[in-house]
Symmetry: C2
Subunit: 384 residues, 2 copies
């Protein structure tokens, strides 16, 4: 797909996932050049995308899948890697959109920044697990990170309307999840099917559970601390059921700037890859005549305990957020597997965090990885 | 009041009026240097302000009042003028806050721009009556105009979060006034006392009536066309009863940026005179836990006919907005004097505009002034 557009070229990591496919939709829509694609092991989908977008290179995280793809694309001249980071380093491309799921997204994030690319970041773990290291890499490279999450995108956009030194706090909006208003007793009876039904945002199962427990909002607090250089005291979570206001910032003059829109990830993805331009796409505008009312509530921190636990973990620092994330991954997997109750997720994560106070002093990637492994072991022990 | 602040020095025109006094509150609060003050004829208040702020100069629009003030301030060394424009031209001061009421504010607006001052503009008539001429003066002087109106301030702030070329439209919010939802029949019975009771924003009587008829919102449409270089098709009026969102802009990507806050003019005044800084003042923050819900409606253009009439007038151009303003001034004065009904205001203004189609071709200040006089005569004829 050769083009004459002035929009930047991009690499899409995690191209066959939900956000990756939306990024490729934007690339189609805006005729953006895609120079590289990566996926985990979906060889068939990857071949189709490679033939459509004609990138310079592709990478499969799974070595057998890489070998398979190499054979399939033998007629194309597209280089096939079995390592995403090597592909990034050896391939041109102005923006790296990282929508890899999980911890595997961290090294590509660091490689993208260290090789001087602008990072459009959808991989939460990069910041949750190793935010200090990632932000230091961005500073050293002189690169900005464009968040793809709707909340952080809204905050990033709202920060354009004022000076950073005048920022007072961030108002991070939360839909409240499908179980807003429920008691702890009611939550203990929640099933997997109830949890996965009707999310506001179309997402994978893991993040849909995280949205229901408010763990996802907790991760977003951690991400916001890193992305915007604020303290947790400067972040207020506001429950906003309608998901029309995607987040806000409050300045020293108590003036608030907010970003609003129809809840559709494509707007955030498009903004991240076309910034500073804002280009028209196929997401509609808000119709004020039919919008009805926008409501706001305080989150129930006593019931949804993972949200204050996230604040505790980032306040403690070091590998505590990595421990939180690792324990949560184990617990959510067990819940989806019907080996753990909904409130069991909360209890398992809390117990793991409580068991590892020393993780706060971990600094290096190796130490963080070790804390992560320990957290997974501790979290997994009581689950059958 | 000598200070060491880095905030700019300012002249406050219309210093004894509602906005002027709030600007002086901000000057006190932020220890800003006030170099000049003007008022119409309130000599006593002016003397007190002059003794407090120790400006270089004062002006009274009324010649007898100027002579009186000159005597009263003979011991101070403060220069006293009987002409605001001469005072502006001969006195230092980085910002001119123009909160003069009515057409008398136009020449000071032009003088401020032509002498290279930043203009913080609260005088609506400058833009409603002679927007093309004022904006041309700003362009020639390379000066920005900082709007003091809450709506235009919100738009100005929201435009900071995107590029001007990506602006799609302006969403101008309206409280809807005290008679939102009423029928034309009901409006015809409205009294002066009902109109002046409980406005959302603390304002003078004239503008409170204009808010109730939505004429004020119509003027704001005209101001927005000039200030932000948009067409009326790019302005959508959205009724928002709670006055928390002060206005919004929608970009090409259908993303909306909004400015929110407690409805208090002091925030807008403070922003206009301290921009680009945002400094803390004594206006509180929104409390999301007690905010309740925000609602949105389309305005009733069939009942509140002055709003679409304003769009018609700015679309026609020339002196049509001046005619609208002049007829409205006459009609509102008659209403406050109980010589005209509430709906009579609308009818009088509409009839005057309809009677003067040729006003659209007026261009110069002299032609506009002539159209203004004619409009006042025509509007006044049927009123007793």
């Amino acid at each position: 797909m050769t083009t004459t557009t002035s929009l930047p070229s991009m690499m899409v990591l995690g191209a066959t996932g939900s956000v990756g496919l939306q990024a490729l939709d934007v690339a189609r829509e805006q005729s953006m050049r895609v120079t590289a694609l990566s996926a985990n092991r979906s060889v068939g989908e990857m071949e189709a995308l490679a033939r459509e977008f004609k990138p310079l290179a592709c990478a499969m995280a799974d070595a057998a899948a890489a070998a398979d793809l190499r054979l399939r694309l033998a007629d194309t001249g597209i280089r096939v890697y079995d390592d995403v980071c090597t592909m990034i380093a050896e391939t041109e491309g102005e923006i790296v959109l990282n929508s890899i799921v999980g911890r595997a997204g961290l090294e590509p994030t660091l490689t993208a920044l260290r090789t001087g690319r602008r990072l459009a970041l959808a991989n939460k773990e990069s910041l949750v697990v190793a935010g200090d290291i990632v932000m230091a890499a961005a500073r050293e490279a002189g690169q900005i990170i464009l968040p793809v999450d709707s909340e952080h995108s809204a905050i990033f956009q709202s920060l354009g309307a004022g000076r950073r030194e005048d920022l007072k706090k961030i108002l991070l909006t939360a839909s409240g999840g499908p179980f807003f208003g429920r008691t702890r007793e009611e939550l203990s009876q929640i099933t997997v099917a109830q949890t996965l039904a009707h999310p506001t945002w179309k997402m994978g199962a893991k993040i849909t559970v995280d949205s229901a427990t408010l763990m996802n909002k907790g991760f977003e607090v951690i991400e916001a601390v890193h992305l915007f250089g604020v303290t947790t005291e400067q972040i207020e979570v506001v429950v906003h059921r309608e998901s029309i206001i995607h987040s806000m910032v409050e300045y020293n003059d108590n003036s608030i700037i907010a970003q609003l829109g129809v809840p559709d990830m494509r707007t955030c993805v498009r903004y991240a890859v076309t910034y500073p331009a804002r280009v028209a796409g196929d997401v509609g505008a808000i119709d004020w005549r039919t919008l009805g009312s926008l409501t706001f509530y305080a989150p129930d921190m006593d019931t949804f305990t993972l949200l204050p636990l996230a604040t505790h973990c980032i306040d403690r620092g070091g590998a505590m957020p990595a421990v939180l994330n690792a324990a949560n991954e184990v617990a959510v997997a067990a819940f989806l597997d019907e080996r753990l109750s909904f409130t069991g997720i909360m209890d398992t994560v809390a117990a793991t965090v409580a068991a590892m106070p020393d993780a706060a002093s971990c600094r290096s990637l190796d130490e963080i990885a070790e804390a992560d492994r320990t957290a997974r072991r501790i979290a997994g022990e009581p689950i059958r």
